[in-house]
C-alpha cells in the first residue's frame, strides 16, 4: 500500500532552464488527496513549466517530479490523473461523444458517459462536432475529458477562463464535489476569486521561485494592510501625511464624500480619524484580499530584484 503521507503530486527542489532563462529555480510543491492547491503567478512566473514537469511533458534539469511516487511519464501514473490544459487544440471535426469514447478508453475504470455529461453539463452536446461549439461549451467538454477517467488528481489550468459566471459557478460546485470525494486538484488560475473559493492552499510563483506558500489565510497575513472606508470631509492631502497611512483616495467608488485609506497600522489611524472628524460615518474596515497579497508579494520581489 502507498504510504498515506506520500503526496499524490510532488515537485522536489526542481530546477529548469530554457537557454538563459531560469524557468524554475528550486521549486517545491506537493498535493494530497482531497486537497485543492492553487498555483498563482504572473505570466512567465513558471506555472506552466511546473505543470509540464508533473505531466511528464518536460524533464527537470535537477530535482524530482513525481506522480504517486512514480515518474510522471509512467503510464500507470498518468492513468490516475485528469488534465485540462489552457489550449487543448482538439480538432474541429470530431464529435463530443467520440472524444469521450476515446478518452475514456485510456482509463482502467472510467466514469459512465451519463456521469460525464451530468458532471460537466454537456446535455444536448454529445452529437455535436467540437468545432461547432461555443468557447464555453468547448471548455465544458475539456472538463468532461479531464474527469472522465475518475482521476485521483485533476490538473486544471485556467479552467474557467472565458466562462459565464453561472457556468463557472457550476464548474466550481462540481470541483468541490470531486474534492469532497477525495480528488486532489492542482489549479492554476488568473482569477484570484477562483483560488479563494476553491483552494485550501496557495503557492505563489514569481520568476521561477516560490514567493509564498501556505493557506489562503497565511498568504493574506503576509499583508498587514487594511482598508478603511468611510464618509468624511477631512482633507485627503492632510490625512496622507499621518503616520501609518500608506495612501488615501477620495471618491474611489464614485461617491465624492467617501474616502479610502490604506494603512498598515489600523487602530491608531482609526482613533485619529474619529477624533478629527465628528461627522465621520459608515466605517468599513477590510483586510486585504488574496489579490492584494498577491500583488504585494510579487511587487516586493520585483523591488528586491531591481535593488
Amino acid at each position: 500500500m502507498r504510504d498515506p503521507a506520500t503526496p499524490l503530486v510532488h515537485l522536489h527542489d526542481v530546477h529548469k532552464r530554457y537557454g538563459e532563462v531560469a524557468a524554475l529555480s528550486g521549486v517545491d510543491l506537493h498535493l494530497g488527496a482531497g486537497e485543492v492547491l492553487a498555483l498563482l503567478g504572473a505570466n512567465g512566473a513558471g506555472k506552466s513549466t511546473a505543470i509540464a514537469m508533473l505531466l511528464g511533458l518536460s524533464k527537470p534539469d535537477a530535482g524530482r517530479a513525481e506522480l504517486f511516487g512514480l515518474a510522471p511519464e509512467t503510464l500507470s501514473a498518468r492513468q490516475r490523473i485528469g488534465v485540462m490544459l489552457q489550449s487543448a487544440g482538439i480538432p474541429d471535426n470530431i464529435r463530443v461523444d467520440e472524444l469521450l469514447d476515446l478518452t475514456r478508453s485510456y482509463y482502467p475504470a472510467p466514469r459512465t458517459v451519463a456521469d460525464c455529461v451530468a458532471f460537466a453539463g454537456l446535455e444536448g452536446l454529445l452529437d455535436r462536432r467540437y468545432g461547432r461549439l461555443s468557447g464555453g461549451q468547448q471548455r465544458r467538454v475539456q472538463f468532461a475529458l479531464a474527469i472522465c477517467g475518475k482521476p485521483e488528481v485533476l490538473f486544471l489550468d485556467e479552467p474557467t477562463t472565458g466562462l459565464d459566471i453561472d457556468v463557472r459557478q457550476r464548474m466550481w460546485a462540481t470541483i468541490r464535489q470531486l474534492v469532497a470525494e477525495g480528488t486532489g486538484v492542482l489549479l492554476t488560475t488568473h482569477y484570484l476569486e477562483e483560488a479563494e473559493t476553491l483552494a485550501q492552499r496557495v503557492v505563489v510563483l514569481n520568476r521561477g521561485r516560490v514567493a509564498a506558500a501556505g493557506t489562503i489565510q497565511q498568504i493574506r497575513a503576509h499583508v498587514s494592510q487594511r482598508r478603511i472606508r468611510c464618509l468624511s470631509s477631512l482633507d485627503v492631502a492632510v490625512v496622507a501625511t499621518w503616520p501609518g497611512v500608506q495612501g488615501v483616495v477620495r471618491g474611489h467608488d464614485g461617491n465624492p464624500e467617501r474616502i479610502e485609506i490604506l494603512t498598515d497600522n489600523t487602530e491608531p489611524v482609526l482613533r485619529r480619524l474619529l477624533a478629527e472628524d465628528n461627522e465621520l460615518g459608515d466605517i468599513d474596515i477590510q483586510r486585504a484580499g488574496l489579490a492584494d497579497a498577491f500583488l504585494e508579494l510579487t511587487r516586493d520581489d520585483a523591488r528586491k530584484e531591481a535593488a
Binding site: 500500500m1 502507498r2 504510504d3 506520500t6 505531466l55 511528464g56 511533458l57 504517486f68 511516487g69 512514480l70 503510464l75 500507470s76 498518468r78 492513468q79 490516475r80 490523473i81 488534465v83 490544459l85 489550449s87 487543448a88 487544440g89 482538439i90 480538432p91 471535426n93 470530431i94 467520440e98 469514447d101 476515446l102 478518452t103 478508453s105 485510456y106 482509463y107 482502467p108 475504470a109 477517467g149 490538473f155
Partner: protein, 257 residues
C-alpha cells in the same frame, strides 16, 4: 520506488490498451473523411487523372493504360502519406493537440498507429478504385497475382512518404505545411515519371530520377507489370527502406527535443 497499490495493479492488468488503439484509428479515419479538403483530392484525383490520361485521351495502346495504372497508384499513395502525415501532424503540433495527447494516458504509439492505419486505409481505397477503373474501362488485363502484388506495393509503399510527411510535420507549422508538401509532391511526381514515362522526358530528368523516393516506388510497381527500367529490385527496396528509417529517426529526434 514506492510500490503501486494492489487494487490499481489489478485494474491495470485487466485494462487492455487494444481498444484505445482501435478507437484512435477509427476516429482518425472518420476525422479525415470528414475533411473534404483532404479526402476529396486524395481519393478522387488519382482515379480522375487515370480516367483522363490513361483511358479517355489514350486511344492508341493498352501499354499506357497499364503503365499509368502502376504510376497513378504510386502518385495517390504518395499524396496520402505526405498530406495525411505532413499536414495533420503540423496542425496538431501547432495547435497544442499533440501536447494534450502526450499529457493524457494514451497508450504509447497509439497516435502513430492511428495515422498509419488511416494512411493504409486510404492507400487501399485508392488502389482499389484505380484497379476497378483499369479492369473495366481501361481494358487492362493482369494475372491475379499481379493485381494482388500491385495492391501490396501501393499499400506498403505509403511508408516512406509517411515518414517524410512526419518529418515535414515536425519541422513546419500548420500554415506552411500544405505549401511545402505540394512543392515536393507535384514536381516529384512529374520528375519520377509518374505522369509520363521517363523515356518521353529529357534525358537529364531520367538521369536525376533515382534521387526521388517516388521513382523507386514506381519502379517496383512497374516491375510487377514488366514495364520497369530494369534496375535490381533490391536497389529500389533498399532506397525506400533507407528513406523510411532516415526520416522516421529525424522526426523522432525533432519530437523528443
Amino acid at each position: 520506488m514506492t510500490a503501486l497499490p494492489m487494487s490499481s495493479d489489478a485494474i491495470a492488468t485487466r485494462h487492455s490498451p487494444v481498444r484505445s488503439y482501435l478507437l484512435e484509428a477509427k476516429y482518425e479515419c472518420l476525422r479525415l473523411l470528414r475533411t473534404p479538403s483532404f479526402a476529396v483530392p486524395s481519393l478522387l484525383f488519382p482515379p480522375l487523372f487515370y480516367l483522363l490520361f490513361g483511358v479517355l485521351l489514350n486511344k492508341s495502346s493498352g501499354d499506357a493504360a497499364r503503365y499509368l495504372l502502376a504510376t497513378y497508384g504510386v502518385f495517390g499513395v504518395m499524396g496520402v502519406g505526405l498530406f495525411a502525415f505532413g499536414v495533420t501532424v503540423a496542425l496538431e503540433r501547432e495547435q497544442g493537440f499533440l501536447i494534450y495527447k502526450r499529457a493524457l494516458p494514451m497508450p504509447p504509439g497509439a497516435y502513430l498507429f492511428a495515422k498509419m492505419t488511416m494512411a493504409t486505409l486510404f492507400a487501399m481505397m485508392i488502389s482499389l478504385l484505380l484497379a476497378a477503373l483499369a479492369a473495366t474501362v481501361g481494358g487492362v488485363e493482369l494475372r491475379a497475382s499481379q493485381w494482388l502484388l500491385l495492391f501490396l506495393v501501393n499499400v506498403i509503399g505509403v511508408l516512406p512518404f509517411a515518414a517524410l510527411g512526419l518529418y515535414i510535420g515536425s519541422l513546419i507549422g500548420g500554415q506552411g505545411a500544405p505549401a511545402v508538401v505540394n512543392i515536393l509532391y507535384l514536381p516529384m511526381a512529374f520528375l519520377s515519371g509518374l505522369w509520363l514515362p521517363l523515356k518521353l522526358l529529357p534525358t537529364w530528368i531520367a538521369k536525376l530520377a533515382p534521387v526521388w523516393p517516388s521513382y523507386h516506388h514506381a519502379q517496383i510497381a512497374l516491375k510487377v507489370i514488366g514495364m520497369d527500367g530494369g534496375k535490381p529490385l533490391a536497389l529500389h527496396l533498399g532506397v525506400l527502406l533507407g528513406v523510411t528509417v532516415l526520416f522516421f529517426v529525424l522526426a523522432r529526434r525533432r519530437f523528443a527535443a
